[in-house]
Symmetry: C2
Subunit: 485 residues, 2 copies
């Protein structure tokens, strides 16, 4: 039966085989049409007939893409420093990952997908140990897999609510009164708890995570929200070394606000059960905060039994120059939970022992993650360690920031506030229009960069982004800056 199967679906005339996948990277970008080109435009019109697509920019031929370069529908070869919104760890079609097509675990996990919460694969713990546990932050107890960043955050805050109420009950499971009242959305079973988020943050797009998210109005408008509190996140002046006093004041002001919100909510019996925060507010505009800020935040959380959840969906996986960005804060104890997705291929969260959920069916759903992702991640982690990619990323990230700072001195009216953590680098421009134009011009020259916030340019390359890619980036970026100013 195996030999009878055909692999010609899609384009019916050509037999596709594994050898049709690209195996080398272009030496330089080459662009011969506008982007989107005529083929991308035609594909977008066609797609609209079957799937709404107002955000689609252009189409990529993923079989032809390799390493740090994608090939678009029109054959343009582009250096990609944005990598599917920071979600491809090793670049396109890494050969050792493509080779996993021959691993029976991958296809079995794909076509006989377990309901992981009830009947896991016999090798599930082994898969976890070789992947997510291999990079588990020090001092944490275990991991809970999910499907994406939003479900990671949703379930982390559920675990925080469960733990908050369990503490109130002296460590006991829900009472009959809790169980009965929750079916009517009444106290005590349905508590009036909240999660504290920050201005400028992004934690996902379910209704609840949108409540915590405050990056852009178009994400939130027309959608109902919980009445949950929001605090200011520090807004620093750059370069940091020239603005120490101001930036320290920012930290203090924001921490004071957090403390005040937690205390006043408690008085109103609408307790804050969790604080959720990104190491770098990415979607909101690549805003950084100091280790002191995060240490202070954790301290306030501890004082009030509030869960301290670090959302590493965009920053996790090595791009910051450490595997987890929060490792650079030197916290005295780990965060209560750390959520992840994107470069980790699967969503999920790490928990400390206090946040382990002990009753069945409370953190549960049909799929609860997917073992195919762990089969691939096992190899990704092996490669990251073997090839020393986190340290290499730290080094190339330093170089990137240094070179961007050099450009800032050459174009001081156009490149502002250069900042970075590993290759999570960014700079601001004067306005949205110029920033958008810069991104378009760079793309037309074969460089894909990302935007965020109102006027920020962000870099989110793969961990295989190296010196030769940096050189192309800087060359095309400088040419692009010259042409938009």
């Amino acid at each position: 039966m195996l030999s009878a199967a055909k692999f010609s679906v899609g384009s019916k005339c050509s037999i596709r085989t594994l050898t049709s996948i690209a195996t080398s990277e272009p030496s330089a970008p080459s662009v011969s049409t506008p982007i989107p080109g005529p083929k991308s435009k035609a594909l977008k019109d066609d797609m609209a007939k079957v799937h709404q697509n107002p955000s689609v920019k252009f189409f990529i031929d993923y079989e032809k893409s390799f390493g740090n370069y994608f090939v678009d529908a029109d054959g343009n070869k582009v250096l990609d420093t944005f990598m599917q919104i920071s979600s491809i760890p090793l670049g396109y079609n890494h050969p050792e990952l493509v080779a996993l097509a021959k691993d029976p675990r991958l296809i079995t996990a794909a076509v006989s997908r377990p309901a992981l919460g009830a009947w896991p694969r016999t090798d599930f713990a082994s898969l976890l140990r070789n992947s997510l546990i291999e990079v588990m932050p020090k001092g944490m107890s275990g991991v809970q897999t999910m499907l994406c960043g939003t479900s990671a955050n949703e379930n982390a805050i559920k675990a925080a609510f469960i733990r908050y109420q369990t503490l109130k009950r002296g460590g006991k499971p829900p009472t009959p009164a809790d169980l009965e009242s929750c079916m009517k959305h009444q106290l005590p079973g349905t508590p009036r708890l909240s999660v504290l988020g920050f201005q400028g943050s992004f934690h996902g797009r379910s209704l609840t995570m949108l409540t915590c998210t405050r990056s852009k109005p178009i994400h939130k408008v027309d959608i109902p929200a919980f009445d949950w509190p929001i605090a200011n996140f520090p807004r620093y002046k750059y370069p940091l070394e020239k603005h120490e006093a101001h930036n320290k004041q920012e930290d203090e002001k924001c921490l004071k606000e957090v403390r005040s919100i937690i205390e006043s909510r408690k008085k109103e019996e609408r307790d804050v059960a969790a604080v959720i925060v990104e190491p770098v507010q990415s979607e909101g505009g690549d805003y950084h905060a100091s280790p002191e800020f995060f240490k202070g935040l954790q301290k306030i959380c501890k004082e009030h039994d509030v869960a301290f959840i670090v959302d590493e969906v965009q920053t996790g996986g090595g791009a910051s120059g450490t595997f987890w960005a929060f490792e650079q804060w030197n916290l005295p104890t780990p965060p209560d939970m750390v959520t992840f997705s994107k470069k980790l291929l699967t969503g999920g969260y790490y928990y400390t022992e206090d946040f382990r959920v002990r009753e069945g069916y409370r953190i549960f759903n049909t799929w609860m993650g997917e073992p195919t992702k762990l089969v691939i991640l096992e190899k990704v982690i092996e490669i990251i360690k073997r090839d020393n990619l986190v340290e290499k990323t730290r080094q190339v990230g330093e170089q990137l920031k240094k070179e961007l700072s050099r450009l800032e001195t050459v174009y001081p009216k156009n490149i502002l506030n250069v900042r970075g953590l590993g290759t999570l680098a960014a700079f601001d421009m004067h306005d949205t229009q110029t920033r958008d134009k810069l991104i378009d011009v760079a793309l037309s020259k074969g460089l894909h960069i990302g935007g965020c916030g109102d006027f920020t340019v962000r870099f989110r390359p793969a961990l295989t982004y190296a010196k030769k890619h940096l050189e192309v980036t800087l060359d095309l970026l400088e040419k692009s800056v010259k042409s938009v100013v």
Copy 2:
């Protein structure tokens, strides 16, 4: 580089190959240990060290499982009529799906995963046409892919909110006042809209979908909820033909309540923007309702411009005897949105033209689904059509219901209220304890059945469940019933 890769991770001593995957079904169940057996128990203890697992029942060796049978960690061969909570369409390791390991699209989509909302694959529309669009309900406009049932429902209700507010604005996009106020969670940008759900329903486990879900307290307790309304869902007496008057009254009573809630919420300026309903309330206890009830529900929704969302996450994909369960209602026009996941391998929703979202980044996230699922689903749909599996499921489902009704006459004190739609069959028992015992005893004899609600047994076999499987099911079920009563 390809040839250098090894496939020995996990159990380090054995080289795994694609030929190690099972290719035939056992002729009968065989059980030689308790389930969970010693190996499953040891695996559960080991798993707890890296991943919380209070709901895990036993472990399955998915490479050894085939068709309608799984093989557990202890080598027990069990006929599976529950199929990973109704999520495996064609049984375990269908050979034509396993053969997709050689399809380059599958591995490329897995290791070079697109951010589908921004840069889709060049073959994305073609993949959709060969899979989800091939089975799109008549009269609908297109599909929006997501990752799971919860994200399908979350995004369908977002589309409903967006459309409700857009109607209020006379078809226009959000105003500057909307955009500004939503960042403060104030009117008009953050509206006080709600979704109406039903007692006994299950729509997922994010905070928002839990608000609409009312099946079991353990899902909801300790978790904050929106103040959204809930209506009663009909509770019929069986057999239906003997209780026509009562059941009709149930329909009318429930519809009257829905209308009353929608009207009173409107007066309070907390409008209901959407009604979400399952064709069969599955998790809540396999409660069915009549086509007349659903027709009446749609009519009320239309009168009040409320979105009528049918949640086919568990019922969709052919198990009901039609590809979508709602096809059996003979609605005058299609539902506004139909959500799906499970047997469709990917989450998502179909929309009618009025619910197409026209502005970018409103229905959006990084992954927005996954093309590997569509590569597999393309083949699944081809097989379902070629092998006439929906009609076969209708036939075997009728037989299953007939035979369960026969058992009901033999064991009238133990098997109650037999009901079914295709193979979505169920019966009640007198209490939770007996129901749970029956499920355990059946498993010990090599038959895996599911529970739902407080005292219900449900069947959720694959579409390849045939007469020979039915015979084993009935034999083991009858033996199990005898031994628990």
